[in-house]
């Protein structure tokens, strides 16, 4: 949470198939019915499962995870 995940999305090649929206299992992606394109509305909640990127038939999406921002609440630092 509170992560700075990023997405590279190529709207020009997107065919509006909605698979990225459907595959998002935690409501990060919403669907814009007017534009027929995805909206990456809650990227701070993205857990980089990468499903949206993988299912896209036109390879329009690249998720760039913020690994450092992901809180695990468990690390070597706690015991130093």
């Amino acid at each position: 949470m509170n992560m700075n995940n990023q997405v590279k999305f190529n709207a020009d090649t997107c065919i509006g198939c909605k698979l990225c929206y459907k595959s998002c299992f935690i409501d990060v992606i919403r669907w814009n019915e007017n534009e027929k394109k995805p909206e990456f509305k809650y990227l701070e909640d993205c857990v980089h499962c990468n499903y949206c990127e993988i299912v896209c038939p036109k390879h329009c999406i690249e998720i760039i995870p913020d690994f450092k921002g992901e809180l695990f609440h468990q690390s070597f630092e706690q015991y130093k």
Partner: protein, 561 residues
């Protein structure tokens, strides 16, 4: 004010993962005329957990072993005599049938050229077979072909209960807040376990269905076995598989040598406790050296190649994940990641809860069903058992539900109950100030995630954690949301507080080490007092703890002492 929609269905299923889908398909196969409606918080086919794990199914060669032999092994080595052995026997006996059933529903399970299953051994009498990750997509298609209705992006809000009988549920759209009132003759809950949103791939188990059941008066059981964890790489938070034996401290000592003596169930809370011991002794960080162990040095090929199993859909998924993780994993340092997997909804052998006509299946009732005993929800310590336990529970619940349908009628709804649930649901949207769900969730995570608080426990630390959770609980009424996405998070946050409270209270009562459950202050098994199931009841809003004796004298396998 959002719109209202009223619906009626014979069977309402909340949750469209593999458990809910199985129940839906079986109900239609048993009675094609019955109306089955699934409401799914996200998109059925892509939601749940079956499609984002290792893509494996537990396998028993029933020509080689008898189900009772596995039950005996499990009772001794994994469940530690807290398991319902009769139910486990039934699960094992159905194993091959369930695998064939999934194939019948379009699920792709790799086979050898001559038609036999491609089996990888995982334990003394278990193996696993691969399954492609489009498993839930395939079963959704089958369900729809059989006439199951599915509404996506609608989440369960509360259960409608009258005279201790489920008569429907309320729900809302997470997109635009439409409020659903659904009358049903039977309700099947399949909304997953509590994972506290810590570990990324399991971030969708948020316990909101468990909380709805608790609010409705459903009893809980075995909540202390809600503390699953695994080792993860610290940079990528990528989950490790089969690496318990090859952990090394900063002095290059192999600290977990022979922790897992193959063949033995994998994933061991001993390794997690040892991580903490080494850290406490100043011997961290801990790193893994998979190349030193023949069992683990090639484990990646299972996922990133088709050398063992042909799983084209999953292959793209695993290759992408591994590639991105390798880009940031500069070393092999590991740390425990807390998954929780709390699954405490108490059910009987037919998966019915303590509220009539209300069933709970899959990851939400695994511990509550007592099927496996002293181990958290699947995989627990048996790879591939997650999907098949969900399928098993779905079959059992659907058969019982369909059988009972002729005697069920729609009950009149109590408008005041519906109104109260609607107000409770949308209350966070009405608050102009307060605490956000994210703030509250992080407070819970900070308490429950550390190994010493939830895996390797003491009375003192559990007591402190419980007091902290109780302080957080006082803030639940201040949760605020500014849209429906945040509203859902508020309900999930409230569920996480409830799950944590149940966990710490139950863990304080189990003063022993048994199976997965590990106490630093009680390192041995309490043969006299430990054979009990800890129960939780919601009595007028008060959490009342209790115990039930495990009827071990009725089971085929007895404790040796």
């Amino acid at each position: 004010m959002s719109n209202n929609i009223n619906l009626k269905t014979d069977i309402l299923i909340a949750g469209g993962g593999i458990a809910g889908l199985t129940a839906a398909v079986i109900a239609k196969e048993k009675n094609p005329e019955c109306e089955v409606l699934i409401i799914e918080k996200q998109t059925c086919g892509y939601s749940g957990k079956a499609n984002r794990g290792g893509g494996v199914l537990q396998y028993f060669d029933l020509n080689r072993i008898k189900p009772i032999e596995f039950v005996a092994y499990h009772a001794n080595s994994v469940g530690c005599f807290l398991g319902d052995q009769e139910q486990m026997l039934k699960y094992v006996s159905l194993n091959n049938t369930m695998i064939h059933k999934l194939e019948e529903w379009g699920v792709k399970i790799p086979r050898n050229e001559e038609g036999s299953l491609k089996i990888v051994p995982t334990g003394p009498m278990t193996g696993m077979v691969g399954v492609d990750l489009d498993i839930t997509i395939q079963v959704r298609r089958t369900a729809e072909k059989k006439g199951v209705k599915i509404i996506d992006k609608v989440t369960l809000s509360d259960l409608l209960v009258k005279n201790n009988q489920a008569i429907g549920a309320t729900a809302y759209s997470i997109l635009e807040g439409t409020f659903y009132t659904i009358q049903a003759k039977s309700v099947i809950l399949a909304t997953g376990s509590q994972n506290y949103r810590i570990v990324n791939m399991w971030a969708n188990g948020r316990g909101d269905g468990i909380a709805a059941a608790y609010r409705a008066g459903v009893e809980m059981r075995n909540a202390e076995f809600g503390n699953f964890a695994q080792l993860f790489k610290v940079a990528s938070h990528h989950e490790l598989v089969f690496n318990e034996n090859c952990l090394y401290n900063v002095q290059d000592e192999n600290i977990t040598k022979n922790f897992r003596l193959f063949p033995e169930a994998d994933i061991n809370s001993d390794a997690l406790a040892e991580w903490y011991n080494q850290m406490s002794a100043g011997k961290g960080p801990i790193s893994m050296k998979p190349e030193t162990c023949p069992m683990t040095k090639d484990d990646e090929v299972l996922f990133t190649t088709s050398n063992i199993w042909e799983r084209p859909y999953g292959l793209k998924f695993w290759q992408t994940i591994y590639r991105k993780c390798h880009e940031v994993d500069v070393n092999n340092e590991v740390a425990p990641g807390f998954l929780g997997e709390q699954s405490p909804v108490k059910v009987g052998r037919n998966m019915e809860t303590t509220v009539n006509h209300l069933y709970a299946i899959g990851d939400m009732s695994y511990a509550g069903s007592c099927i496996a005993g002293a181990v958290p929800a699947p995989p627990g310590r048996n790879r591939g058992s997650g999907i098949l336990n969900a399928v098993f529970a779905g079959i059992v619940a659907a058969e019982k539900t369909v059988e009972a349908l002729p005697t069920c009628v729609y009950q009149e709804l109590d408008e005041n109950q519906v109104k109260a649930q609607r107000e409770r649901t949308f209350a966070p949207l009405e608050r102009s100030s307060g605490i956000t769900a994210k703030e509250l969730i992080q407070e819970v995570q900070r308490i429950i995630a550390p190994v010493e608080n939830s895996i390797y426990m003491t009375d003192q630390r559990l007591g402190i954690c419980l007091r902290k959770i109780e302080a957080i609980k006082a803030k639940v009424d201040q949760l605020k949301a500014d849209d429906y996405h945040a509203l859902l998070s508020c309900h999930e946050a409230e569920a996480m507080v409830l799950s944590a409270e149940m966990f710490f209270k139950a863990a304080l009562m189990r003063k022993e080490t048994r199976g997965w459950f590990r106490r630093e202050d009680y390192p041995g098994r309490d043969h006299k007092n430990g054979l009990k199931w800890i129960t939780i009841k919601n009595q007028m809003g008060e959490m009342v703890m209790g115990t039930e004796a495990v009827p071990v004298e009725k089971y085929p396998i007895k404790p040796y002492c």
